[in-house]
Symmetry: C3
Subunit: 210 residues, 3 copies
């Protein structure tokens, strides 16, 4: 199995778990099957669609390659019928989600660099690719985005760190396949560690009067 096959398989796994997290939230909110399908698609594809629309890469990958639609639809169908089991599997789901986070931030950054965006912009779009779907899921389900809540374990920060590694390595002309794989792995481990240790991002220091 080649490295690129590994990446493709993990990327599809990332789509699957992102879609599952959308479907689970829809079920938890007692949405109907339409809501389940919409949240699954939005969570899995939203970040990449926003990235592609912003860089002018239209129609987005999600609309030109059928597998990008089929995987989230399968995830929605499986979650629809098997959600009590999926709930019990919540730790495995979080592990796959961390893998998706790592892969999406790396592939998003690479795509932005290919379109000749600057390194800071590419990092930003890499993070948008990784976290955008979750934010759209939360907004549609009328939740405060998990991303901005103080009790959420580090999520955007590992993604930002991974995207930065990729952008810096691209500038330095390093061998990208190795760097990209390592960066995705580093994000994955960073996120797992943040969950296990409950690392959270700082809030603004309080003033004397509130």
């Amino acid at each position: 199995m080649s490295a690129s096959t590994v990446v493709s398989v993990l990327e599809l796994a990332g789509l699957y778990v992102f879609a599952t997290s959308g479907a689970l939230m829809a079920i938890q909110k007692k949405f109907d099957v339409v809501g389940i399908v919409i949240l699954a698609l939005l969570t899995a594809l939203g970040g990449g669609i926003v990235r592609d629309v912003v860089i002018g890469n239209t129609p987005p990958a999600a609309f030109s390659n059928g597998i990008y639609l089929i995987i989230p639809l399968i995830a929605a169908a499986v979650t629809f019928f098997a959600h009590p089991l999926v709930h019990r599997l919540s730790f495995p789901v979080l592990v796959f989600d961390a893998a998706g986070l790592g892969l999406f931030c790396v592939t998003g950054t690479l795509k932005a660099l290919e379109c000749h965006l600057g390194p800071v912009q590419a990092v930003l779009l890499g993070v948008v690719t990784a976290v955008g779907g979750g934010v759209l899921r939360d907004i549609t389900a009328r939740e405060t985005p998990a991303l901005v809540r103080v009790e959420t374990d580090l999520y955007a920060i590992p993604a930002g760190a991974g995207a930065t590694i990729v952008a810096v390595a691209d500038r330095a002309g390093l061998h990208m396949p190795v760097i990209a794989t390592s960066a995705a792995l580093a994000v994955f481990l960073f996120r797992i560690l943040a969950m296990v240790r409950h690392w959270t991002a700082p809030t603004a220091p309080a003033g004397r009067k509130r």
Copy 2:
């Protein structure tokens, strides 16, 4: 009156009723005139703008043909002054809304097929065209989108069925004017029937433990 004139007239009627539903929600939420205009424009044009941005058809039709802006503005103005009457006309409004749903899902699917998207992608964009404005209306007004709520009579499902008919017929090379008109009519009747009979979409089967 030719068939294409009929479609154009009905499409403008669809814009008008979608805008009316946005304006009515703004009034119900006690928004000011700015909020009324914004929700009217967003509901009528949002779905089509998202579709056009996704397929790279920019600027969207809503920005290149003045009538697309004028109709929702008229609807907002009429609703502003006549809203107690419009409330009393809520059933006629729902009937026009069903007509808009049928027309927008058909025209959205056709536009996506013209841009060489695959059939599944075209169906998805057809549904986005038909229901996207309403979702944006609900998110802006801080409502859980009607689309995903379990008590909502079937809405996206008729649109999806109509879009599927168009995409399949396009594959089969059938005579599109006849198919498109029939599909829009079928969606309209399906939606009306769903409202009269209170058909709702299924929710996920509950597990033993919640």
Copy 3:
């Protein structure tokens, strides 16, 4: 200092205060540092990104010129550490915000006219540029957009008036640098006056039965 330098400086000041308003809302909602950065970027850049995506000007200016990212990030950092002071400076912040409103509606309208949109469409995009970031900020923070709330002092209406002046003057072939500067100034003064006098937009006249 030339007129165009003045405009550039004021535009960067507009970015700064828009970002500050996003960061302040994030702190008020007790979001973490990720939420503060996201709301700062979204508020400052959201309107312009939506405009650029709609007119097909991709990647948007926000992604092609580094200063557009750096300014909001500085604003987020300053607000993070100095927010009790910034709160005490709330009136100066509102004054700069009014300047940003004036500049962004004028530059947004001009950009749309350059892309050969009609005058009505250009006015709409000018307003979207000026108010879009604030709406995205409010939606992400789960607030009813200030823009549509009845107790908000006039905000979109000064922007719309300024955009209309620009679009009409463009049609009439007037000398744009003078017009654009005057329109931005007029919006600024209109907005300041609306705040001082608490001018609000009308709501729909109530029917006899609610």
